[in-house]
Amino acid sequence: MCLLKVTGLTKTYKNKKDFVYALKGIDFSIKQGECLGLVGESGCGKSTTAEIIARLIKEDSGTIMFNGAEITGQKRLKCVGKDLQMVFQNPKDSFDPKYSLLESVMMGADSYNLYSKTELRQRAQELIKYVGLKGSYLNKGIGSLSGGECQKASIARAVICSPKLIIFDEATSALDVSVQAQIIGLMRKLKEEKGVSFLFITHDLALTSSICDNIAVMYSGRIIEYGPCQEVLKNPKHPYTKQLVSSVLPINGCCNIPEFNVLRNTEYTENSCDFYAFCQRADEKCAKGILNMAQLQGRSVLCCHADD
């Protein structure tokens, strides 16, 4: 069953005189129990996508279907409520320093009136244990917890109201590798035991391959490649995905690091391929226009003139 379906989502930020086209029409879907990885460079629109889906900001156009109902243009509480939770990038800043760990985790559900106060406290204590935090931390302030512990607490807070979808907005970026592995372990546990779906936003392709079923590669507000995670990472089609995948540094030595240099300064037109300036294979056709998404060997790829 399709839990989340995003179609033609666009978003433009107005900055005094300038317009920043954050999303230029993106489409993807997440099934129940699926983990979709959303990867791409900083500023490509990943977090904007997450915040629109979580109803923290409004889209300009497009439709979002969540759990069988359209949530486009609606307020968060009315449409997604407890079923959609989010874990943020900065673990310490995502907790109010005025409250203890237990109070903070309890806050994840106390606005939804799902449990009595005693039940809520008991459930929060169980979840804090479930995510691997010590019982002695319960009444400690968030300030005395490490980044990794805070992120585990964020997961406990997100899970307390049994959501259907959790968005991880670069939730592992600020953590060291051992804690990243623990978080991935927790996500797997939640996926298998509770059937939770994930939208996993990250820069780290290695993490994506270890947890995600599907992957969507974003570049400059567009999804340029979308398909099964392992296949896309093993055999990327779009020139940007190829460069992104080849940028992953191996643990056992150096490799040929691809260069993302500006190769041509020809002025863009509105229809130019966004990757035109950096693409090693671009020609004059790429400057004139981009092509639509096409199905290619079981995945969607933004068609590229270089493959003509």
Binding site: R76, M86, F95, D96, M107, S111, N139, K140
Partner: protein, 270 residues
């Protein structure tokens, strides 16, 4: 949450402030003489059994006037600080939280108010309203609210951008719940620190206005007004200026140190 630890110096200063306030409240009991009773026979007397700190040019007891003067100086400063704290915070929070055109207009008003030299503006307002402690309080409130409004506005704008506000929205909190549960508890402590440090400067400003003759009306005892009376005798009888001056200095230092301690305890130094 673990409870905050209050250092011994915090409690010492708190006790000293309580003593100052108690001295002002119980001035009628503690004062050895009527502070307003003048007797030219007793004018400019040195310390003696009847007048422990001597008398002023009108023969009024300096100790009694200092104790009664504390009532005006301390309580008016506390009233002004509390008023501008509430007024400034409400306006600043409203401005910062609402944003847009409302914020722009209120920010301009705050900037215009702060552009004037404080004491000059207070003199002008008190001059227009007339002499008296009530008008002094009003004048200083009109001048001082902007500082708290600006601070509350900038605090709320920074707290609003914090991730835990987004997290609270995800957790289902409405605007009112976010305001009272997350925003106000995070912006009030720095404002309290600012207010506690502001009491000392308020004591000085009330005294300055009275010294300049636009504060309290004679014969009411007030430290600034007492210094004004004593300034002509500074060469011959320095205690006329020294007694109210020392009272202002000691009170201001105690309130200032207490403000510093509150800042340390609330952890808002940075």
């Amino acid at each position: 949450m673990e409870r905050k630890k209050y250092p011994v110096s915090f409690w010492v200063l708190a006790v000293l402030i309580m003593l100052l306030i108690a001295a002002a409240v119980f001035a009628p009991v503690l004062a050895p003489n009527d502070p307003n009773k003048s007797s030219l026979m007793d004018a400019l007397k040195g310390p003696c059994q009847q007048f422990p700190l001597g008398t002023d040019p009108l023969g009024r007891c300096l100790l009694s006037r200092m104790l009664y003067g504390g009532r005006v100086s301390i309580f008016s400063s506390l009233i002004i600080t509390a008023s501008v704290f509430v007024l400034g915070t409400v306006i600043g929070v409203f401005s910062g939280y609402t944003g847009g055109a409302v914020d722009m207009v209120l920010t301009k008003i705050i900037s215009i108010t702060q552009a004037f030299p404080k004491i000059i503006l207070a003199i002008a307002i008190a001059g227009v309203l007339g002499i008296g402690i009530k008008n002094t309080i009003i004048a200083l409130c009109i001048v001082e609210w902007a500082e708290y409004a600006r601070m509350a506005r900038s605090l709320i704008r920074s707290v609003k951008e914090r991730t835990f506000i987004k997290a609270a929205k995800i957790c289902g909190c409405g605007e009112i719940k976010i305001m009272f549960r997350h925003i106000l508890p995070n912006i009030i402590p720095p404002l309290i620190v600012s207010a506690s440090l502001g009491i000392a400067s308020m004591i000085m400003e009330v005294a300055a206005l009275s010294y300049l003759g636009v504060g309290v009306q004679s014969p009411m005892a007030e430290w600034g007004a007492m210094m004004n009376t004593g300034k002509d005798y500074i060469q011959t009888n320095i205690s006329l200026v020294l007694v109210p001056g020392a009272a202002i200095f000691i009170t201001a230092v105690i309130f200032n140190l207490f403000g510093e301690k509150i800042r340390d305890v609330l952890g808002t130094r940075n």
